[in-house]
């Protein structure tokens, strides 16, 4: 126990990085990761673009404003000088320099010797050239009892007579603004990058998770758990649609498998009896005298038994095929009256011979999409049943419509089927007590139901007072 515990951290410390790199490698290979990376790249480029745009517009705007103020000031002073000469200029400069107007304007007029005549700067700033032109300089500004060095921008002029003038503006606010914009944008950029990275990761994780769900479900289904389904998010996005389609596919497969299993069970259960009967007959024939006609008779009855078995087997296969939906579509537009007429015409003589009256009542133009072959077979099964069990009286085939449904009915005047049995008679091999003595395999109505369902229809048994009424309903085809 102790050894085990001691070993654990060491093992953990080895596997953790390996697992991490394994995960990272797997992540790199995924489509989701590439998508997320692309998303992140696009995001970064657009955020950078926006930030640069904001920076240029705001910083540039302040700069242009400074320029415009300076230009306006210089134009104003030039006009004063043109109108009132040097003394006027000095006067206006002195007036403007008096007091702090808070606009950060700087003025200085000096005589040819460089001595200040008017202005709010103490002396011509050091290192500033004395010829005319645009320039940047620093100025000492008094802010709350403290003297600070502020950057400034301006222009100097040579006034005729050797006088010089400096007009400038303290740009410390503009610079501070520019710096603040820079910092803000930098932070905004960093936050955006972080958000982008997280968003990309989350997106990739989400994609991976949902693909992983599909993968896990398929693995479980492959392992034999056929009833497992891919969970849905309820968002009906592409992944939900994919999952829903996969689930529908699995439903269909499961239905097929169930139908197959049912057939296998039925076959095992109900074909064993006739098979053993067949075997007994052949064995008895073998035991009997080798010359006798008894042997021929035994072989003949064995062949009959085999034929019945094959018929049962074929019927079972047809039903299973119909129910599983594997039969390829052989449907066409059918007039139900035509199907009914053809069957009535085939059965009329035999019905009459057996003491029945077979009649036909059809509404014209009741059309459905379906297989003439399958519907005829279903109808033939119903007529076979009526002839077998009703005993006599009228058998009627009816074709009618109602509520957008096309109906095909076969009615007789026999004993009918008790209400309690009306559901079970459709199951395979179910034969009611009364019918045990008559030949049959108990598959006729199963086939009828399979045919009805195949045509997206229903089959119902009802009381015909007296007798049985079998009603098949199908979606009617519009005209």
């Amino acid at each position: 126990m102790i050894a085990e515990k001691l070993l654990l951290p060491a093992r953990g410390s080895w596997t953790a990085p390996r697992r991490f790199f394994g995960n990272a490698q797997r992540l790199l290979r995924t489509h989701a990761f590439r998508l997320a990376a692309l998303y992140f790249l696009v995001f970064v480029v657009s955020v950078l673009g926006v930030l640069l745009f904001v920076y240029w517009t705001s910083a540039d705007f302040v700069e242009r404003q400074t320029e415009a103020t300076l230009d306006a000031e210089i134009t104003g002073l030039a006009e004063q000088y043109a109108q009132r000469g040097l003394s006027g200029l000095i006067q206006i400069v002195a007036a403007r320099s008096a007091g702090d107007r808070g606009d950060g304007m700087l003025y200085l007029v000096t005589d040819p010797g460089g001595r200040p005549l008017a202005g709010n700067i103490a002396a011509w700033p050091a290192g500033v050239p004395t010829h005319a032109g645009r320039l940047s300089f620093t100025t000492a500004a008094r802010v709350k009892e403290r003297v600070e060095t502020h950057p400034a921008q301006g222009a100097s002029f040579i006034i005729p007579g050797g006088y010089r003038m400096l007009v400038g503006r303290d740009v410390s606010d503009a610079t501070a603004f520019r710096n603040r914009v820079k910092t803000t944008l930098l932070w905004a950029g960093l936050v955006a990058l972080g958000v982008g990275l997280m968003g990309g990761t989350a997106m990739s994780r989400n994609l991976l998770r949902r693909v992983e769900q599909v993968n896990r479900t398929s693995e479980r289904v492959m392992a034999g758990n056929l009833s497992d389904r891919v969970p849905l998010d309820g968002t009906s996005d592409e992944f939900d649609q994919l999952a829903a389609n996969l689930n529908r596919m699995l439903d269909q497969i499961e239905r097929l498998m169930t139908a197959m299993r049912e057939v296998t069970d039925d076959v095992a259960h109900d074909l064993k009896t006739p098979l053993s009967r067949l075997r007994v007959r052949l064995e008895l024939a073998l035991l009997g005298p080798a010359d006798g006609s008894g042997q021929t008779e035994a072989i003949r009855s064995a062949i009959d038994e085999a034929d019945r078995l094959l018929a049962t087997f074929n019927a079972l296969l047809s039903i299973a095929e119909l129910e599983s939906g594997m039969r390829r579509d052989e449907s066409e537009v059918l007039d139900l009256a035509e199907v009914a007429r053809s069957a009535a015409e085939l059965y009329e003589p035999v019905a009459e011979e057996k003491g029945f009256v077979l009649s036909l009542a059809t509404e014209p133009g009741v059309r459905i999409r379906g297989s003439r072959h399958l519907l005829s077979q279903a109808l033939a099964n119903l007529l076979d049943n009526a002839l077998k069990y009703a005993g006599g009286g009228e058998i009627q085939i009816r074709v009618l419509r109602g509520d957008g449904r096309a109906a095909l009915e076969v009615t007789d005047r026999g004993h009918g089927i008790p209400e309690a049995d009306r559901k079970t008679v459709f199951d395979r091999f179910v034969r009611l007590e009364r019918s045990r003595s008559t030949p049959g395999n108990g598959l006729g109505l199963s086939l009828v139901r399979a045919v009805a369902r195949r045509h997206r229809g229903t089959v119902e048994l009802a009381d015909n007072r007296p007798g049985l009424r079998v009603r098949l309903e199908f979606p009617e085809l519009g005209t």
Binding site: S318, R327, P349, H373, K388
Partner: protein
Amino acid sequence: MKLLVVEDDRETALYLVKGLGESGYTVDQAGDGREGLFLATSGSYDAIVLDRMLPSMDGLAMLGALRAAGISTPALILSALGSVDDRVKGLRAGGDDYLVKPFAFSELLARLEALLRRGAVTAATTKLRVGDLELDLLTRTVKRRDKPIEVLPREFRLLEYLMRNAGHVVTRTMLLEHVWDYHFDPQTNVIDVHVSRLRQKIDKSFDSPLLHTVRGAGYCLRVSGPSASR
């Protein structure tokens, strides 16, 4: 009459060769599609009986190749696949008839004979005659010994089919397929009653019956007498 049987299952092949041989045919047998195609293109056969599912070359593919080569020997397809769709495919591939396994040997014989006779009555024929019974395809009338016989439209088609196959056994399944276009066997003996009604009309008032029941197989329309055997 020379037949080619293409069947891969040894036991079924043996059974076919033996049964057809006993019925008076000369039979060659091939065990797969390629061999079958080779024999069918080289030899001259009156009919081919072929299994639909064969090794090396599928029965339908073999038939397709044969028809593509311009050989129109009538072919009867044997198949375990019995849906209408399968049948239609088989006939489209060039088959002349389609028989679902398992089948009664009498059914196979009757169908083969019908196939072999197909060429005998040309499409241009407008009157069919068996003994003193006459059926006019144009006026759609039936006469026996020049006495008109009233028949229903379906009875007319039933009689036409029997007359086209006169002298040969026609099974109930064949009648259901060709006269009613029903590809399944109802549990009730519907055909028997139709045939007996027809018999009432064409045979009742005449001394020599034409429409015979062949026990365990079906029906045969022929002039009575010792000569009338298969």
